[in-house]
Amino acid sequence: MNDTNQNNTVLRFMTCGSVDDGKSTLIGRLLYDTKTILTDTLSQIEKTSKKKGMSALDLSLITDGLQAEREQGITIDVAYRYFSTGTRKYIIADAPGHEQYTRNMVTAASTAQLAIILVDARKGMLTQTRRHSYLTKLVGIKHIIVAINKMDLVDYSEEEYKNICNEYKSFASAIKLEEPNVDIKFVPMSALNGDMIVDRGRSLSWYKGPTLLQILEKIDTTEKTNSSFLRFPVQFVCRPRDSSNEKLHDFRAFMGRVESGLMKINDKIKVLPSNHESSIKEIRIGDKIITEAHAEQSVTVSLNDEIDISRGDMLIHEDDTLEGSKSFTANVCWLSETNLTPNRTYLIMHTSRSSKARISSINNKININTLETEQAVELKTNDIANIKFKLAQPLVLDKYSQNRNTGSFIIVDETTFHTVGAGMIETIE
């Protein structure tokens, strides 16, 4: 709250770990030490800490959830938290980390650029550490911070810290975590005492590297994941049909967000899946006319030719060889409580376009504890499997490894309209 800079960049990160790892305490500490927690929230936390018979402030209460969760003593959902420094606005996706919550981890990871993986210094690498690391890789997160927490409980031992780092590094190379382009950083800390999170504290003087917040502040967030190819899915067509205004009478423009690449005035473009060609006449954001639009900008575009374009069409550069396709394979995380029924038809929502889809085959399923693949005929909640799909209408697809925005999709049940699965495209036919 204490930051008035208008030109911060945004960094979205997730925290992986269970309650026992001190995840809630870590987030509480980040918010508390960056002065995001205000007096009235704090006095509530003080009251509850006392009621629970604790001598110090229980920072984990800051992320305390819903009544429904308190009653059951569990976290059931992803929560979003915010803080700002002089250089960045941070959005934290806080997801519970138990095995049965794989879907929440995947949900949180889908919008994150960075993951903090918490390791309890007393316990070292656990099955869940491997699982969390694997999931961040699967969902294409390019920055990982392994936060070795509870250093106070191992007497701030440098040796313990180094052992865990080495163990993690050999695991990372075994699952090829660093390929392609993933950077992994390590930091020792005590969330409880506030060592090496925002402040350095006094107990880890042997550690010369940056604090957790310093790492977050310096990470280069230029999206390494997405290719530089122009992808502009049309969300909405603007036709004012204003007969009182001559300029607007025939005005037609296409509204959407640049998902990747750069679009400039006069660029030659084509529209998929129709393959009609034209060029960019004007780009604007509201009343402001701009000469180019880059990734993540929501703009309004008009073209030099009158061609038929509607919601769901994709504008790409004319020399791009991309085409619409009707068959592909993807890694799917099943989100629904109801199992996947292989011979049912589902709806796939991809960018601003949808298509009915059928499952051609379930190729294999990943055991997220052993990280081995196994045979599968069905999918239940939290399962991750490689599936081949057949589409009724062509979609303009990219591989997820090349573009997180145009390589991802959700699966919707046509009867209940629930979102039942999330997919990341692997191969396109």
């Binding site: 030109n7 911060n8 945004v10 009544q67 230029t222 603007c238 509201g286 993540e296 991802s408």
Partner: protein, 300 residues
């Protein structure tokens, strides 16, 4: 850095994208407009999303009948300036119909807004309401989806929300069901003020420091109006105050302040020690879970 948006541009672009998804996916959406600062940000975002065309939805105000006249004037002028259609759904009409029954005449009306809102949704056949709620406001909001599903009774079931991944939004509903879309979910109070400054948005005058008759009651500053008179033993003071939120008169309290410009409000917001709701929303202090409870009953 080239190709990297500032946080305000990023938040704006995300909000435009969400609004266009509503327009693209929903048959009959509506934008909830109260005259408050968050909904004014929504209007600017709608302009950026849809101009030079008209908004693909009307605006709707859920009117508790307990309003500051400045805010109502502002609401009407703003709508006229934009040339968009405004629907006013009135709690007093629901009271006349007998669907809202107050326990006592002076009871705060905020929680009854849900009833009028649900009636207006049904009457107009809206399948989506765009609102200005933010996740940083309250802990029941921290887990809110950007497109939040409500059942036939307008209820929010935290255990039955659709997973939301990447920037893919599923706004599909059956007849009678409803989506609440929150384009500024990821904004904080500071982001809102910075955006107001950057876009030079006009606000109702009560957001800025002004002299007002108030009494101090249970630690809060309570404005003295026709519907909120002073008790006989209370001392009325004339103080410099401003409002941090604008809602029903009976449950919105001002703060002591000399900040008479957006710039000064930003400085004050940066150094404030109390959350927006904790300080000025008398109805959220009642119980720790009161927002969660209201949302389950159909509140936005």
């Amino acid at each position: 850095m080239k190709g990297k948006l500032s946080h305000l541009d990023w938040l704006e672009s995300e909000a435009i994208h969400i609004m266009r998804e509503v327009a693209g996916q929903c048959a009959n959406p509506v934008l909830l407009f109260s005259g408050g600062k968050d909904s004014l940000c929504l209007l600017r975002i709608a302009e950026k999303a849809f101009r030079p065309g008209r908004f693909p939805f009307p605006l709707m105000h859920i009117d508790t009948g307990h309003n500051y006249p400045e805010v109502i004037n502002f609401r009407d002028n703003k709508t006229k300036e934009l040339g968009e259609r405004l629907i006013v759904a009135s709690l007093e009409e629901s009271m006349a119909k007998g669907t809202i029954v107050l326990k006592s005449a002076d009871e705060p009306r905020n929680k009854y807004q849900s009833i009028t809102l649900l009636e207006a949704i049904e009457e107009n056949g809206f399948d989506c309401c765009i609102g200005g709620a933010r996740r940083d406001e309250e802990k029941a909001r921290a887990k809110e989806r950007i497109m939040s599903f409500r059942d036939e009774f307008g209820q929010w079931d935290p255990k039955n929300q659709r997973p939301e991944l990447w920037n893919l939004y599923n706004a599909k509903v059956h007849k009678g069901e409803n989506i609440r879309a929150f384009p500024i979910s990821n904004w904080t109070e500071m982001d809102v003020w910075q955006y107001i400054e950057k876009e030079k948005l006009e606000l109702p005058s009560i957001y800025f420091a002004h002299k007002r008759d108030v009494v101090k009651r249970n630690g809060a500053i309570v404005p003295i109006t026709e519907v909120t008179p002073a008790a006989s033993d209370e001392e009325v003071e004339n103080m410099m105050v401003r409002f941090r939120t604008v809602g029903d008169i009976t449950c919105t309290a001002p703060v002591a302040s000399n900040a008479d410009s957006v710039e000064k409000i930003i400085i004050e917001t940066a150094s404030t020690l109390i959350t927006e709701r904790g300080e000025t929303r008398l109805d959220d202090q009642v119980s720790e879970a009161s927002m969660e409870q209201r949302k389950k009953e159909g509140y936005f």
